[in-house]
């Protein structure tokens, strides 16, 4: 099975994240880049499927040069090779144009199964899997906390508010995974050393045959017009127990729709 895992480099959530003042896009130089956490689950799931069914795992990322670190981490975990879509013209691409660029590349490199994290911790649109499936004209199996492949049938458990739905599709397909699906492995020493020998193919916009009017800030359908820092957290509510602490607590939780 030919599995492609899409990974994204995002600013470390533990550091202060900023938008650029000139075009309100993410300031990627301001924070350390790390692998989007949910993508680590996607890589793990791909590796498990490969271990169970054989085949090959390819990492696909779109991002600036320094996103190569993210590729290396996925290769160190055990992926076989990588494709890095990198071009200044891609800067500022929104979800729609990103899905275009990724879909074009996926068509070029071929796949049986595409696996993504369900969202990124930076933009958090959570729509890329659906857009990719649509653009590629293949089955869309999103928010999976369990994946099973049998022959050409893929079955997932899609997480819902009430539990999960069982959803089945046939290969080729696009899957997005949630964090409960597995426990991502740490790269091993051997994996880290082996990663540098694994092939990484760099593709520019021209090589990926991307239409210039479909990518980048100019092609974006959405625009960040303004950004403001989150307000500081307000003081919490203190419930004083005068014999009715339980009721007050329940009322409070109920008012917030927790119960």
């Amino acid at each position: 099975m030919n599995i492609v895992v899409c990974v994204k480099q995002v600013p470390d959530t533990a550091t202060e994240r900023k938008l650029r003042s000139d075009d309100n896009t993410l300031d990627r130089d301001a924070a350390d880049g790390v692998v989007n956490e949910l993508d680590e689950y996607a890589v793990e799931e791909a590796l498990r499927l490969k271990e169970a069914h054989g085949g090959e795992v390819t990492v696909l990322t779109m991002g600036p040069d320094k996103a190569a670190d993210t590729i290396r981490k996925a290769l160190a975990m055990g992926a076989d090779k990588a494709v890095h879509l990198v071009d200044d013209a891609l800067h500022g691409s929104d979800a729609l144009s990103t899905s275009y660029a990724m879909a074009q590349t996926l068509k070029k490199i071929g796949f049986d199964l595409v696996i993504l994290g369900s969202e990124s911790t930076d933009a958090r649109t959570g729509v890329l899997a659906a857009m990719l499936a649509e653009r590629l004209g293949v089955a869309q199996l999103t928010l999976a906390n369990k994946v099973e492949v049998e022959g050409s049938a893929v079955t997932i458990q899609r997480v819902t508010d009430y539990g999960y739905d069982k959803v089945q599709g046939s290969l080729p397909a696009v899957i997005s995974v949630v964090e409960k699906i597995n426990e991502p492995r740490y790269p091993s020493f051997k994996g880290i050393m082996a990663a540098k020998k694994k092939p990484v193919q760099k593709l520019g916009a021209a090589e990926a045959e991307l239409a210039a009017d479909q990518i980048g800030l100019g092609a974006a359908w959405s625009e960040v017009t303004e950004a403001a820092a989150a307000p500081p957290r307000a003081a919490g509510t203190v419930v004083k127990d005068e014999g009715d602490g339980g009721v007050k607590t329940a009322d409070f939780l109920s008012s917030k729709k927790f119960i």
Binding site: D69, R72, K73, A76, R185, Y186, P187, S188, F189, K190, G191, I192, M193, A195, K196
Partner: protein, 389 residues
């Protein structure tokens, strides 16, 4: 001159950091609770479980040769990894290593002692210090006398790290009083069931050494490690192994502590302002980082010299002396910044404070390190004006 890490080195460092943060640090509250209740901080099975998990990922035998299943990453990477594991006070280290002098054993000794130690099936301890012989190890009195095909050992060892848990000891005894340290001291591999006894020595920190008593302990001739009379050289080899690892762990601990102080200074308010805004606090933070950085590079330099195959004893003494003093100064400032909270047992600072004090005493006191450094210079064994030469 390149002070950077390669991509692979950085990735190994980051992976170890993630492992320590996700697998080891979460045990910290429980370790504190256990220790407060007078129990061992971490159960041996838990520690073993962690090591096994790490082993599956190849974190095993960091500096152990590959033919023994190790990763053989070398001294510099070992130091960097020790800085990472030093970030937590949970007494965790990666498994798969054994005392360097066990490699001096013959094939049978390697099979019985070295390999099981690497595998974590046996536990060793190194016993040279005696009540009357510390850094002046030449004065040891423990005696081994030949009787037929066996040696009979009598004497007492003290402050033996791991002595309570070990099932065999590398013990140094005088086999020829005439020659003393120059050919008259021998190292014996002695199983616990050959009759030596251990007694725990309670200390100020979590380091729980033992005193060992040998009363007519009979040891077969084949349990001599290395050659008869050449024990003192082995002892010096053991003591010299990875001395840079002590300041490396200290750097990790100090960085973690300083981060705690920085975080606390930003939220703790006094007289209406976060204490981080006061110069008194800022200077403590600044001085701490300056000292940590100095210790970090001295440590890496010592490890690098070992990696180059040089005699790194001088550099290691400098790093150990500096790192031990640095850690004590930093933990003291961090406690000061935390004020009353720092002094409580709610936070791990007081625990670290007690533990780090040991660094200035064991494996050569500050005074012994200074003596070594000064003598090397006075006798011309070390030169001034060198850079990595």
């Amino acid at each position: 001159m390149d002070f950077g890490l390669s991509v692979e080195e950085r990735q190994i460092r980051d992976t170890v950091r993630a492992f320590v943060e996700k697998e080891v640090m979460p045990l910290e509250p429980e370790v504190l609770r256990n220790e407060r209740a007078g129990r061992p901080g971490i159960e041996p099975e838990v520690l073993r479980g962690l090591r096994d998990k790490a082993r599956q990922m190849g974190f095993w035998g960091i500096n152990t040769p590959e033919e023994y299943g190790g990763a053989a990453l070398g001294p510099v990477m070992s130091a960097i990894i020790a800085m990472e594991t030093g970030r937590t006070f949970v007494p965790f280290s990666f498994g798969g290593s054994a005392d360097n002098i066990l490699y001096a054993g013959n094939e049978e000794q390697k099979r019985r002692y070295l390999i099981p130690t690497i595998e974590g099936e046996r536990r060793s301890c190194f016993a040279i210090t005696e009540p009357g012989a510390g850094s002046d190890a030449r004065n040891i009195r423990t005696r081994a006398v030949k009787d037929g095909g066996e040696w009979v050992i009598n004497g007492e060892k003290t402050f033996i790290t791991g002595g309570n848990e070990a099932d065999f000891v590398m013990v140094f005894a005088v086999t020829d009083p005439e020659k003393g340290a120059n050919g008259g001291v021998t190292c014996f591999l002695v199983d616990r069931d050959m009759g030596w006894k251990s007694e725990p020595i309670p200390t100020m920190g979590q380091w729980g050494p033992a005193s060992l008593v040998f009363e007519d302990v009979r040891v077969p001739e084949e349990n001599i490690l290395g050659e008869l009379g050449q024990g003192f050289q082995l002892a010096m080899q053991w003591i010299g192994q990875g001395r840079y690892m002590i300041p490396a762990r200290a750097v990790g601990a100090a960085e973690r502590l300083l981060q705690m102080a920085i975080d606390y200074a930003k939220i703790r308010k006094s007289m209406g302002r976060p204490i981080a805004e006061y110069q008194a606090i800022q200077w403590m933070i600044a001085d701490s980082q300056v000292e940590i950085e100095a210790a970090k590079w001295l440590t890496l330099n010592a490890a690098w010299q070992v990696q180059q195959g040089r005699d790194a004893r001088h550099a290691a003494s400098i790093a150990k002396l500096n790192g031990a003093i640095m850690a004590n100064q930093v933990v003291d400032r961090v406690m000061q910044i935390h004020g009353g909270m720092g002094y409580t047992k709610e936070l791990p600072i007081e625990r670290w404070y007690r533990e780090l004090r040991l660094l200035r005493i064991f494996e050569g006191t500050d005074e012994i390190q200074r003596r070594t450094i000064a003598r090397n210079l006075l006798r011309g064994h070390a030169r001034l004006g060198t850079i990595g030469e």
